[in-house]
């Protein structure tokens, strides 16, 4: 088991290392003086800040130093939590902008991922080998999973927000309300949260349902299921076992889908102007704020790696084979 985690951590470490390196390398591969060209392209809010930024970033990039020193320095500032200063929201540090946005993104992501996973799995398990359900759940699931996150989000915003006017279509909370620890504010938050959550949830749901249906059909054809049937065990028991075992590959699937789900959340946020990382990234791209963009990138990579690790731990807890298998069976 130690070996299992060792390997996983090695992969995650290397991934993070690669992400940081790419992040460091990309601006340096651009032709010309990166700081000058970036500042020239960026839409800096205050013109008087230009000079201050130039000095600051020349210092940060440290072009007079040998490349390896620059590289090590970038790691140094990373560990200090220094992601630079935003051009767009000068003079706010990038790290501050990101930490303010992250709770909103997590509030969308975590519930939508977990609930869609649980509900999708149930749905898929119900559909498997039941003709009528299969013929309804499956096509709907395929449509959902083929829908771009952003389009479903736009459809929902249009239908519920504009045509019927039930839900707000922009922001994390109403402009008229100031953030505070009150019920009113909380309800307002939830009201704004519901549509983006629902659209994320729906698209993800389809994929889980399809995945579960396929895995469970495979499980229902496995030897242990056949043996139980031959011994007259009721379908209930066999399905319970099959579901339990089919959940395992679905956990792995969750880890593999994280990147896609995060990406979906980012564009959904943009549609709803939800104040999470997605909207920040859009602002960074529109304003050519590369520091903000790079900071957001590292945040996302780190978040996904941590989530992956949590899933690994859960997997080991849920699958007894990972725990006993390595110890070696007595012959």
């Amino acid at each position: 088991m130690r070996r299992y985690f060792g390997r996983k951590l090695l992969v995650y470490g290397l991934t993070f290392f690669m992400a940081v390196t790419v992040n460091w390398l990309v601006p340096r591969l651009m032709p010309g003086d990166p700081v000058a060209s970036m500042l020239a392209r960026a839409r800096v809010a205050q013109p008087e800040a230009q000079e201050a930024l130039r000095v600051y970033y020349n210092n940060l990039f440290g072009f007079d130093l040998p490349w390896w020193q620059q590289y090590l320095n970038s790691w140094g500032s990373l560990f200090r939590g220094d992601f630079g200063i935003s051009l767009w929201a000068f003079p706010t540090p990038v790290a501050d902008l990101l930490t303010r946005a992250v709770p909103y993104s997590l509030a969308l992501l975590i519930p939508s991922i977990l609930i869609s996973w649980v509900v999708g799995n149930r749905l898929g398990a119900l559909a498997a080998r039941r003709k009528i359900l299969d013929n309804t759940v499956l096509p709907v699931s395929y449509v959902l999973t083929a829908t771009p996150y952003l389009w479903l989000a736009a459809l929902m915003a249009w239908a519920f927000g504009i045509v019927w006017g039930i839900f707000p279509v922009a922001g994390g909370y109403s402009f008229s309300i100031t953030p505070s620890f009150t019920w009113d504010f909380f309800l307002d938050l939830a009201w704004h949260w519901l549509l983006p959550f629902a659209s994320l949830f729906l698209v993800a749901l389809g994929g889980w349902a399809i995945g579960m249906r396929n895995v469970i059909i495979y499980e229902l054809e496995s030897d242990y299921a056949n043996y139980l049937s031959a011994l007259g065990a009721p379908q209930r028991l066999i399905r319970r076992y099959a579901f339990r075992n089919a959940v395992l590959p679905q956990i792995t699937g969750l880890a593999l889908q994280l990147g896609v789900l995060v990406a979906g959340a980012l564009v959904t946020e943009i549609v709803f102007s939800y104040p999470g990382l997605g909207s920040l990234i859009l602002a960074a791209i529109q304003n050519k704020d590369f520091f903000l963009l790079q900071g957001a990138f590292l945040f996302i990579v780190l978040g996904v790696l941590i989530a992956n690790f949590i899933i690994d731990v859960v997997y080991v807890i849920v699958d007894p084979r990972t725990r006993v298998g390595m110890a070696g069976a007595s012959a």
Binding site: M18, V143, A146, P148, A154, W158, G264, L266
Partner: protein, 280 residues
């Protein structure tokens, strides 16, 4: 075996419906632009016209013909999907075949690389890469998508190759003095041809979805019109608030239709190739 696959193929509704939709849309994307003499970005007349006789899908706030954009957009979307999916499938195959067949250290290293890119949130990587590129072409977009989407394909091809490598006919080919490359191409790959096709289809659909996200966030091609870019513009110019539903519904529906049809055709094909899934 071949005739049997054909027998099931022409009787498989999923495959027929999926392939039918794809062919129709592909036809519109390929042939359509020849019947439209205006450039998709040309200002052709009335602004914010709802769909009607002259402008099938209406016009946007600038008075651009949305049908022209849709038709050209379909073309770009198919191109990016096919190219991106093709590149990803090619890399996935090379990595998967080599890792699975060679085993040992080669496998260890390739596997590690695959896993790294697999856990990397690739859309975020694409943001960085595309953001730094000032000018972006659809081909470039497809290339980057292909370069980041191959890992899961490599992983499953590796697993299949690994199990085929243990079959006696591979050993027998080695005993006939045939080299590794030829064994992979001529013994192992033909046994997975249906699987490789399925992989390509899934990557095709996936690439279209990723491209639409990139387009939407403002990192789409700067030299073309695509369905994703239509959605981006619709969003940027508040089509939703202006009630111009014909601006953002058709492109999104187009993407969903293509990807959905690809997935459904994929399931159909799977049933055709895999006797276990056939219903009797």
């Amino acid at each position: 075996m071949r005739t049997e696959a054909l027998y099931f193929a022409v009787r498989n509704t999923k495959l027929l419906v999926g392939a039918g939709i794809i062919l129709v849309l592909l036809g519109i994307g390929v042939i359509g632009p020849f019947f439209i003499d205006k450039a998709p970005t040309e200002y052709v007349g009335m602004q914010m016209q709802p769909p009607g006789g002259e402008f099938w899908l209406g016009t946007n706030t600038f008075g651009q013909d949305l049908w022209a954009q849709f038709v050209h957009g379909l073309r770009t979307t198919f191109l990016v999907g096919a190219l991106g999916g093709g590149i990803a499938a090619a890399i996935g195959m090379v990595v998967g075949f080599v890792a699975g067949y060679k085993g040992g250290w080669v496998d260890e290293i390739l596997n590690m690389l695959t896993n790294i890119i697999l856990v990397l949130p690739t859309l975020a990587v694409l943001f960085i890469l595309n953001a730094y590129l000032g000018v972006r072409s659809a081909g470039m977009q497809a290339l980057f998508i292909g370069l980041t989407q191959w890992p899961w394909a490599a992983r499953s091809i590796r697993a299949q190759t690994f199990s085929l490598r243990g079959r006696d006919f591979v050993d027998l080919a080695r005993l006939s003095g045939v080299g590794s490359g030829r064994i992979i191409m001529r013994e192992i790959a033909p046994n997975m041809s249906s699987y490789l096709l399925l992989t390509f289809i899934l990557l095709f659909g996936g690439s279209i979805l990723i491209a639409s996200s990139l387009d939407f966030i403002g990192l789409g091609p700067t030299d073309a019109v695509s369905l994703g870019l239509m959605l981006q513009q619709a969003h940027q110019w508040s089509a939703m608030h202006l009630g111009l539903w014909w601006w953002f519904i058709p492109p999104g529906a187009g993407i969903t239709l293509i990807v959905g049809a690809l997935y459904v055709a994929n399931v159909g094909l799977d049933e055709v190739f895999n006797p276990k899934l056939r219903e009797l």
